[in-house]
Amino acid sequence: MVSLFSVVLTFIAIILIPGLFISRRLSVPFSIRNILRFIKLAASQNDDEEERNEKRGTMGEKEKRGGLPKHVAIILDGNRRWAQKRGVGTSDGHKAGARRVIENAKDCFAMGINTVSLFAFSTENWARPEDEVNGLMSLFEENFRSELPFFQRDKIKISVIGNRTKIPQSLLGLIRETEEATKSYEGKHLILAIDYSGKFDILQACKSLAEKAKNGVIQVEDIDESVIDKELMTNCSEFPNPDLLIRTSGEQRISNFFLWQSAYTELYFPNVLWPDFGEAEYLQALTWYQQRLRRFGRRV
């Protein structure tokens, strides 16, 4: 009886009290999952502590600790693997991914991020099975239709970047309608990259400059990096270069997304699949970002 009592007390001391404390402190629901996430977060902060100490020792300079990123770019990877793990169809995986897009956009803007870019469909994705591609186009249409009231209510500007020549007319119409309806909003910008390729972005910028040079608007010798920057598709954004790029599902590549724009972007590759990337994972990414020292290639 005494030993049972001491076991119960130990359980309370080790598990329940810290759990309640963490829940209270972080204002998250009390669950083992959230507690484990918190522990991982604290451990990753220790990892960064080591890098900071090393940097102080070699450079002797004060750290620059950034605030929140202005522009977060996300490669939404892992829908199909998520579906496979659960024994459901690929289309269900993409639907779950689409729901996560809206939820994460809400979280991002609630945390004060100005611009969120989502790599929804790459040029290479056209090579996927026809029914999957058609399913994705239908999903985009459905979401543009259903979420427009939300974008208008929360004053979120929507921009779609990419090569529009292959996109079905019905979807194109909805894209134009959504962009037109939200073009005047400021402070919150959601950029959807559909049929986007980083290489295509650079080439279309060159082509656009060629037309301007042909029309005498610009001289060839005046073309430099900043001129090309302004011709890229991300010129629709106040913050065209992402501060943080997240690719879910553990793959460690940028796969033709924002090649030009990501020179000094912090790259974050969590293992979680996109439909499972929730608020806690997003907080973890932002905390990780805040620990970084960004020097933009220069000596500080």
């Binding site: 209270r24 220790n46 290489k199 080439l203 060629a210 010798e221 990096e225 590549r253 790259l267």
Partner: protein, 253 residues
Amino acid sequence: MDFNDPMLALSSWIGQIGDFGLDLVWRFIHIVVTLWHIVSGIFESVESYAISLGLIQKYSSIDIEKLKCLAVVVDIEAARDVSKVIELLQWLTTIGVKQVGLFDSQGLLKKSKDMILEMVPRSVLLQETGEKHISPDRIALEFISSSDNKEAVVKAANILLEKYLKSIHPENGVGENVFTESHLNEALRVVGESVHVPDLLLVYGPVRSHLGFPAWRLRYTEIVHMGSLKYMRYGSLLKAIHKFTGVRQNYGV
């Protein structure tokens, strides 16, 4: 009223004790997490040494053929310590890597090119041999900096623009379509740039970013952050390369 005052004092006292207790628990959790981090760091170091000594079977044989081109990005502070870069290249030579691109944003490694080529056994300059003619017993090195990134694309773009403007038909005002990937690749070669895409990019430094590595070459490159160059470990390098050889890309399909 008299009854409320002691009650208020008691509840305040209980609140303070509670906060103190929770604070202790918070610190206890920090100790636990710190210990966990120390243990995992020790485990990683031990694993790294075990890999270096060849004690872990799976790292003994690596399918290095899959790694045709490796790129190494070095933070500018780390790039000042050329001896560590040379040591890294010697390790890569031992592992059997045939082609390595060395990048730092300011071009410090480019300036130390001759010394690096002299100190790394069997190393040659990639520009001299070309990608297809590297001897099996050699390692070809390429030195890259930020000027090979956007500046090079601007120069290549200018070549394409000139070509386009010259090709415009007076009748219809339409020029040749020179704005394709292959045209830009060709233009980049004309300005002296390589367009070869590295399979794996190792980033050494405090920042998890490719620091301006030539964007045109990064489409499907695996990017791995290796930490500080000063504390680099052979075992970690081997582990990163081994992990890469197990990666399966579907290229968006």
